[in-house]
Amino acid sequence: MSDLSDLRMTDAVRIPRRRAAYAPSLPLLPLRVSGLRLDIAQGALLDGVELTLPRHGCTVIMGPNGAGKSILLKLLHGLLAPSAGSVSWNGLPATEATARQALVFQKPVLLRRSVAANLDFVLKARGGDRARRDALLADVGLAHKARQPARSLSGGEAQRLALARALATDPEVLFLDEPTASLDPASVQVIERIVGEACARGTRIVFVTHDIGQARRIADDVVFLHRGRVAEHSAAAEFFPEPQSQAARDYLAGRIVL
């Protein structure tokens, strides 16, 4: 499980459901996050996060357990409301950008239907072309399992279906919260390929991972979170050989970071 994914938010930090316009008029990027803070009764989960993401590429968010990576994704995606600070998607607040983004959770949430029906559901709900279903399934290597109940898929297959479902919404920004945690290398490879292809097509990727090797393979830039703050944000080519923060150096060296 993700470090904070099982955290049950109180109603106070939940946000009301809001339907945003699907037809984008302006690009969602760049993203500007300013003074972002999220408090719960036990203290601050995020404390003064400052972040700017450019229009293109794949950003990897790394950090030790409890650093606030999953919470940050949910705040950026508009699933949680911050206690303070702001998230601005090229001027739009996070809640109005949700419909133009997709989030793949670490533990895929699949409907109790067939594989194909899971995709049909999203395509119908989001007004997508249902004829795309077969192409999406083929792309993630699940065409032969279209009629199988989604809940009977293996972990890697379920995550690929969740990824296909996310891509079915044609997101401008795709968030992935440790999508390859506990998957076998072949499944990891497939997911990285699909994410890479989406990135090449212009989808902005924000990817949370603990896997340093994976981060090296896919990252254009790395955000390193530590104790609810951005300890470092730099290009991957700079981050891995010469991390600037002590926490990132310890993390990359395999030392325990508290």
């Binding site: 809001r18 983004q101 239907r113 067939s114 999203v122 919404t169």
Partner: protein, 240 residues
């Protein structure tokens, strides 16, 4: 104990002899209780789903109310329905009193809270699992409700059965609004009450045994349907 043995023999002979009166009573019982269950599900399931996905001020009070209504005394419901449907009542013009229609109304009122309360619990658990995904997909409340109802369909069959069980076993309300009129509104439970009051205990027990068998049959039928649908789903034939 002698009565029980005789009751079994009598029940068997009634069924085997093809007693027309008995089958008429059984048919009406099933018609009334199944109709009430279907109507109660049509009302109670969306209500349960709506409460499951909604957060509003006073929600706790609504939950307490729905749960409390599960224990509605049938005679009170019968009396209220009687007052509304009697000739001088506000719905007297419908002419429903002492008809199977009135019995369906009374049973529906009795089991709507059961269906709503139990489905709310089932769907709230399911919604806990789906909620973030739904919000990520920006589903409307209606889309969320219909999705939960479809995905929770197997568990909701059991909810429907609980409602049917309550309806089929109910006597207080239907005897008030139906009047237990022979060949018109007599159902199994009111017939049992009548035979008991007449002192014909073996016949009352025989009818009770048949009622139990019917309830078991309906439960078994729904259970088989549920298992068959689940099996089909696991083989991949359902809902592609």
């Amino acid at each position: 104990m002698q009565d029980i043995g005789e009751a079994f023999r009598l029940a068997l002979s009634l069924v085997l002899s093809g007693d027309a009166d008995l089958f008429e009573i059984v048919g009406l019982s099933l018609q009334v209780s199944l109709s009430a269950t279907l109507i109660a599900c049509a009302i109670g399931l969306p209500v349960g789903a709506l409460v499951a996905v909604s957060r509003f001020r006073g929600r706790g009070a609504v939950l307490v109310l729905i749960n409390a209504l599960m224990g509605l005394p049938p005679v009170v419901v019968g009396l209220l329905v009687y007052l509304y449907l009697s000739r001088s009542g506000p719905l007297g013009f419908l002419g429903l009193l002492y008809t199977p229609g009135a019995m369906i109304v009374a049973q529906t009122i009795l089991i709507v809270p059961i269906v709503a309360a139990l489905s709310r619990q089932v769907l709230e658990d399911l919604h806990g699992e789906y909620a973030e995904q739904f919000r990520s997909l920006c589903l409307t409340r209606w889309q969320s409700i219909t999705t939960l109802l479809w995905d929770g369909r197997y568990a909701l069959m059991t909810v429907g059965l609980a409602g049917f069980g309550r309806a089929a076993a109910e006597v207080g309300a239907v005897i008030i609004v139906g009047g237990n009129i022979d060949h018109l509104t007599r159902v199994m439970t009111t017939a049992i009450a009548l035979e008991t009051s007449k002192g014909d205990l073996p016949l009352a027990l025989a009818l009770g045994i048949i009622l139990l068998v019917i309830a078991l049959g309906v439960n078994a039928g729904v259970q088989m349907l549920r298992m068959s649908a689940a099996r089909q789903a696991s083989l991949g034939a359902a809902h592609v």
